[in-house]
């Protein structure tokens, strides 16, 4: 005899069945809405931002691959959840619960499959990871980015082409880079952890106090894009926003020269 609980009005089987069915449909909404949002997002323009980098398609490919993989597991799990709730509700299963010591084979299966999948992903993404985080181009830095609460301080080498000298050109929040050129940024932080995030270039790198971390990429399109901080760094994190301007080499040099002249102003 199952234990009864709850207020008296719950105790009729008919009402309880309706309540149970209600929750089953509610749970069913999770996978339906979850999948629906992802199907709808690309058409509504709220999916991945425009990719303007040479390596971005690899990151996007990995994203899509992992999304499909986790999506399939998610849907399967949700379907099993709903089917089990439907089939094994209390009204049609009055027998006492049977306990089991488990199935060795089943456990092997659900250990080996995820482990093999993770191993596959680890190997599959190695080239993309190496391109973005390991194979640093052997060029002098284009600029130094110093994150601080709550802004991006930017420092370009001056006419001597060397960073941290008297003729460096300093700006703030207004990041300019030439298009179709290899860019190397030295990333530092003045105070706490920040994260240098260029969504359109698929670049995200933590800025760690005490470390100089290289970040490199190649931009393919001219335009203005976002630079944001992607690591909660304090109360003003929300306002730690910059602008990335990708422009032709000529425009870039003109802009840099203009900044240099402003900085050397004697009048």
């Amino acid at each position: 005899m199952p234990v009864e609980f709850g207020p008296d009005e719950f105790k009729t089987n008919e009402r309880r069945t309706i309540v149970t069915r209600f929750w089953i449909f509610l749970f069913l909404l999770v996978p339906i809405l979850g999948v629906g949002v992802f199907l709808w997002a690309p058409y509504a323009g709220v999916y991945l931002p425009q990719d303007v980098s040479t390596h971005g398609h690899k990151i996007d490919h990995l994203f899509t691959f992992i999304l499909l993989l986790t999506g399939a597991v998610f849907i399967a799990t949700e379907v099993v959840l709903v089917v089990f709730m439907w089939r094994y509700d209390r009204e049609r299963n009055q027998d006492p619960v049977k306990f089991t010591h488990g199935s060795h084979n089943l456990e092997m299966v659900w250990t080996i499959i995820p482990a093999a999948t993770l191993l596959f992903i680890a190997i599959y993404q190695m080239n993309a990871w190496a391109e973005v985080k390991i194979d640093r181009p052997d060029i002098p830095p284009t600029l130094k980015v110093t994150a601080r609460q709550f802004e991006w301080r930017l420092q370009y080498p001056g006419p001597d082409g060397v960073l941290d000298t008297r003729d460096d050109i300093h700006t703030v929040n207004d990041l300019h880079i030439p298009v179709n050129e290899q860019i190397l940024i030295h990333l530092e932080s003045d105070d706490v952890l920040h994260s240098f995030f260029l969504p359109n270039l698929r670049i995200k790198q933590d800025a760690v106090p005490g470390s100089t971390i290289p970040v490199w990429f190649r931009a393919t399109e001219i335009g203005a894009f976002d630079l944001v901080c992607a690591e909660l760094c304090g109360w003003g994190h929300y306002k730690m926003k910059g602008r990335l301007t990708i422009e032709s080499r000529e425009d870039f040099e003109n802009w840099l020269e203009q900044k240099r002249q402003e900085q050397e102003a004697v009048q």
Binding site: F10, F22, E151, V172, S211, E264, A265, V266
Partner: protein, 381 residues
């Protein structure tokens, strides 16, 4: 078939609760924003409630409220700009944003512009209290107000080395609205101070429009006059910087001058090598802190804060790093701080030598504390 009554009532309660919660911040009882009366350093019972109310009424007549600002048109300030910067934050359908001051500034500078917003206490130096009418980094002469362009520059570049961030990405119109509002808060603060001075001297407060306008113009004209008080660096005295030898000679002259305890006296605060370690007593305060009586901390919004002379080897120049900026800093001093105006003591060519030396300082090794200039970064390169 209907849902169980119990469940229905529970679901109903949750939905209703959620609705109520979502409505509360919007139409709950938060009162309209008000300007805080400037009672800093005064005991609360120094003036009677009627006297305080009279000051509030006069200020409201002359300046309106944080939601509905007013300024006499005779001051030349643009009321339309003030209206964009003031009030609660919202966007018009056309994308014009309102309430810019509260969105960007008030959490540090306070709705009243008293530099005592919610985040102020955590900062060093404190956010500027506009009510004194004193601004540190200006292109104008000693004692003068900043120009409109000075304030715009501060907004755009931020003040590196302090908590003031850059607002360079805001549209020009929004920057202009904010600058106008800062002027407005500052003028209001100074008029408030003079009203209290009348009370202290037991004189009648200016209650007619004309009398009040005179009072406001006394302050706002200083702002207008600032535009014609810009310090023009003497280019004739500028040492040639074309060859590295001439520049090096200028830097050496600047170094000697920097250490000269009779004329330039930089060494007294900034130390012999510019590390900011010259003031051993540690007894320097800016104008916003020096009057605070440590025995009565309750009379001020923020605890007394010491002022550290700038370490000139960090490559951080709060008022701008262009030679012209540093020339003006030396010529006119940093207002409200012990950094004096040296324009009367030093000749223009001497100031230029100092400028060249100060700009060179971050890139030379420090003789007495070499580890200071060694970069402590762990380069993962």
């Amino acid at each position: 078939m209907m849902l169980g009554k119990h469940l229905a009532s529970r679901v109903g309660a949750v939905v209703l609760g959620g609705l109520l919660l979502s409505f509360f911040p919007g139409c709950g009882g938060s009162p309209p924003a008000t300007f805080r009366l400037n009672m800093e350093g005064r005991s609360p019972d120094q003036f009677s409630a009627e006297q305080k109310q009279l000051v509030v009424d006069i200020l409201t007549a002359a300046f309106g409220t944080p939601d509905d600002p007013y300024i006499f048109p005779e001051t030349g300030l643009d009321l339309e700009k003030l209206r964009i910067a003031a009030g609660p934050t919202y966007s018009e359908a056309e994308g014009v944003r309102h309430g810019l001051f509260r969105q960007h500034c008030a959490h540090c500078h306070g709705v009243t512009g008293d530099g005592a917003g919610p985040t102020a206490a955590f900062l060093n130096p404190y956010p500027r209290d506009f009510r004194k009418g004193v601004f540190k980094f200006t292109s104008t002469g000693p004692g003068a107000k900043p120009t409109t362009d000075d304030l715009k520059k501060t907004l755009r570049n931020g003040i590196q080395g302090t908590a003031m961030p850059s607002f360079v990405l805001l549209p020009e119109a929004e920057i202009e609205a904010l600058v106008e509002y800062v002027k407005y808060l500052s003028i209001r603060g100074q008029v408030e101070a003079s009203l209290f001075l009348y009370l202290e001297n037991e004189e009648d407060l200016p209650e007619s429009r004309d009398a009040l306008l005179d009072e406001v113009l006394l302050v706002s004209n200083q702002w207008r006059d600032a535009e014609s008080q810009i310090v023009v660096p003497d280019l004739k005295a500028l040492p040639p910087r074309d060859s590295s030898e001439e520049l090096a000679a200028s830097i050496e002259r600047g170094r000697a001058l920097f250490r000269d305890a009779k004329t330039a006296q930089c060494i007294k605060c900034h130390g012999p090598t510019g590390l900011g370690d010259g003031n051993d007593e540690g007894d320097l305060f800016d104008d916003w802190n020096k009057e605070k009586d440590p025995a009565h901390p309750e009379l001020w919004a923020l605890p007394k804060q010491k002022l550290r002379p700038r370490n000139l080897r960090l490559g951080i120049y709060r008022g701008g790093r262009a030679p012209a900026d540093i020339y003006r800093r030396i010529f006119a001093g940093i207002k409200g701080t012990p950094m004096p105006a040296a324009g009367k003591v030093l000749k223009p060519n001497q100031i230029w030598d100092l400028v060249n030396y100060v700009l060179q300082l971050p890139y030379e090794p420090s003789p007495n504390r070499p580890e200071e200039t060694t970069k402590l970064t762990r380069a993962r390169l």
